[in-house]
Structure formats: C-alpha cells, structure tokens
Amino acid sequence: MREHIKNNIMSFFIIVTLVNIAIFICGIVMAPEEKLGYTAFIVPVIDGILGVIPGLIMYSKRELSVKQMIVRDIIQLICIELIIMVFSFGFTPITSISIPRIIAVIGSVAFVYVGVVVIMYLLDFRTAKKMTDELKAFQNSNS
C-alpha cells in the first residue's frame, strides 16, 4: 500500500506538469488571444487530484497478471476521461462551439495518461539499472 501511495503521489506531480504543457499547447493552437486569470493555476492541480483518484480506488492487493493490468489501465483511462469531462463540461450546456474543446480535452487526457506511463517507465528503467549494478556487486561479494 505504501508503495502504491508513493507511486500515486509521483503520478500526481507528473500529471500537474503535463497538464500545464497540454494547456499551453491547446491554448496556443485553439485560443492564442485568450487571457487567463489566477484560477487557471489551480486547474492542473485539480486535474492532478482527479487523475489519481481512479488509481487510488482501483488499488488491488492481488498480484495482477500483465493482461489484467492492461485491462485495469484501460478502465482507469476511461474513468479519468469521464471525471475530467464532467469536471470541465458537466456544468455548462454543450454547444457546437464547445465540441473542438471537448475533443482537445479528451486528447489531452490521453496524452497526459500516456505521458505519465512513459515517465514512470523511464524512472523505473533508471531504478532497474541501479538494481542490476547492486545485484552484480552482491554476486561478486558473495561468490
């Protein structure tokens, strides 16, 4: 459980960073003239919290197989998409003008999700390299 919480905290900070990048890219492309207020700074943090909630709820003590894990990740992505959609557009009527924004948000959520997976993988890759070095040192000192 401790490891799971640690991973989710790490995911939170990665999400916040990637949401900032997504807002920047979408803003430049779709509404370069728009000016944002101070509340815009809290959006990535809220998105970060909303993004880790499904992961926290779907925690399982069971050791999942690779297949089960992929299925769980897909369900998690769908849940995050739904949560963010409700948070972003659930309280306003959807018009034809908001459709490109909805598509941009769906795309951004997927981009952030894949980004988090890739960054976590790269961090694990570094840890794995360190572990291999420690393993070799262990084997040399015990052989």
Binding site: E3, V66, V117, F138, S141
Partner: protein, 149 residues
C-alpha cells in the same frame, strides 16, 4: 585418476577443477557430491525423488498450493511450503520477490522494468520472474545490505 591439490592466495576465489576426457557418469557423480556439500533439498519428478543441490536452484514457485523447484532446465515438486523455503534459504541468497516466488539472487542476470512499478528479473537460464511492487524495496535492501553499500 591423479588427484592434485593446489594452494592458492587468500585473495583468489577457491575452486575445484576437474580435468577429464569426457564428462562421464563418474565425473557427474563427483560434481553432484561437491554441490551436495553446499546443501540440497528433495524434490520429485514423475515417480522419482531427486536431491537438488541448493546452488542449482534458480527459483521456487507456489502454484495452487503446490510448490515447485526450478533448476536451469528442470522442475521438481516438493512437499515444503514457500514460506518454509523462504525461512530455510534466507541466508543462502534466496529472497521472496512476489507472493508466489522465492528467487536465488545468485542466478539473477539483470533487472528490467515491467509496467506499474513491477520489475522483471532475468535469470541466467533466460527465464523471467516478476518482482512485484510490494517486494521491490525488500529486494533492494537485501542486495545492498549484503554488499554493504
């Protein structure tokens, strides 16, 4: 057969070398005996019971309440439970890496990342075993404590 014993420096790792024309049953018997000095466990394969030298064990796995010992190429069933092996072999370089696997760290070749905080431990016989998220820190602690780093 000539028998030679050579004294070596304290820095050099001790070894036993057998010079033979062919690796016949006599040679294999000597190898089994030497490995047996390091300890062995019993395991069955079909109707036969075998003594498996601890140094030859790659990992031990529990599947549906049955425990299996894996060597480089073979697998044997054993009556002992996984937690008993964990306890028995903890000072012999074995550590639990998931709910169902205890691995011989000396047989690990490299570690690679798997998704969701898990790692793949590649063994020297080419097999992969999963280090689950829960056991990663214990595994790291185990190998770093033993090396003193």
């Amino acid at each position: 057969m000539e028998l030679r014993i050579k004294k070596i420096d304290g820095d050099t790792r001790e070894y036993i070398e057998i010079g033979c024309h062919t690796e016949n049953s006599k040679v294999k018997e000597i190898v089994r005996f030497v490995k047996g000095l390091e300890g062995s466990v019993s395991g069955s394969k079909g109707e036969k019971i075998y003594e498996i030298p601890i140094v030859d064990i790659f990992y031990i796995e529990s599947v549906d309440n049955r425990t299996f010992i894996y060597s480089a190429k073979d697998s044997y069933e054993t009556g002992l439970k996984l937690y008993e092996f964990e306890d028995l072999l903890k000072d012999r370089g074995f550590i639990r890496i998931s709910k169902s696997v205890v691995v011989n760290v000396m047989k690990a070749d490299s570690i690679k990342p798997a998704f969701n905080g898990r790692f793949l431990c590649k063994l020297t016989n080419g097999e992969d075993v999963i280090i689950s998220r829960k056991y990663v820190s214990e595994f790291r602690e185990f190998i770093s404590r033993r090396t003193g780093s």
